[in-house]
């Protein structure tokens, strides 16, 4: 890395909204992990589960590519 080009590889980012968000499940996700990332609290997974009861029959079974509604925090 040259002196003129700072290293931004460790920059952390995030986002949130007052609107419902759509989140696409990736490999290794669980509702708890998504809740932790979106709300800062893994115990909030039930909110995500309730908002997606139309496509989720079992909270332990989510699949990569599924698009989940994330209610605003």
């Amino acid at each position: 890395m040259s002196e003129d080009t700072p290293d931004f590889s460790n920059v952390e980012s995030g986002s949130s909204s007052t609107a419902t968000k759509i989140y696409e499940v990736v490999s290794g996700d669980s509702l708890s992990k998504i809740a932790k990332r979106e709300y800062g609290n893994a115990n909030e997974w039930k909110r995500i589960y309730e908002a997606n009861r139309d496509i989720l029959k079992d909270p332990d079974k989510i699949y990569p590519g599924q698009k989940l509604k994330i209610p605003p925090a």
Partner: protein
């Protein structure tokens, strides 16, 4: 030719002629599938538009900046708060860049898909555990692939 013979010939001719005149019964066509219903018109493109972009070092629960500014210290978390109007599904993207001597270096990109039902506020934030290099930065906000505005700021 006797009369009996003549009648027989006439009967045969009549049969042949009537057979020729008979139309071949066309096979019954398979029941045609019902025509597919016309597709429903596609929903109107998402009418989400950015109305305001604000920068700051803190936000409230409403996602609006509580400490606005365009100059930050090295350890700040930098927030871009984006007000939108309209409804529909929209992909918002924040592209953060560092600018020096006319060169642009990508710092981070972040996207979120939102489904607002009215005016909404979304935020993007970045932080750097070992501190931001001093200099000039910019954040550009996109709705889909269309730029919706930029904000420049500095780290001192």
């Amino acid at each position: 030719m006797n009369r009996k013979h003549t009648l027989a010939v006439l009967a045969a001719l009549t049969l042949v002629l009537s057979a020729c005149g008979k139309k071949e019964e066309a096979p019954k066509p398979e029941a045609a599938p019902a025509p597919a219903p016309a597709p429903a018109p596609a929903p109107a493109p998402a009418g989400v538009a950015v109305s305001t972009i604000s920068l700051g070092s803190a936000i409230g629960a409403d996602k609006k900046v509580t400490q606005a500014g365009d100059a930050f210290s090295k350890k700040d978390t930098i927030y871009a708060s984006v007000d939108t109007t309209g409804t529909g599904t929209a992909i918002l993207k924040a592209k953060w860049t560092y600018r020096k001597n006319g060169q642009e270096t990508l710092v981070k990109e972040e996207t979120q898909t939102i489904v607002p039902t009215g005016p909404a506020t979304s935020e993007f934030h970045i932080s750097k555990p070992d501190g931001w290099p001093a200099g000039d930065y910019q954040v550009e906000i996109f709705v889909g692939d269309k730029s919706a505005g930029t904000k420049t700021f500095a780290v001192k």
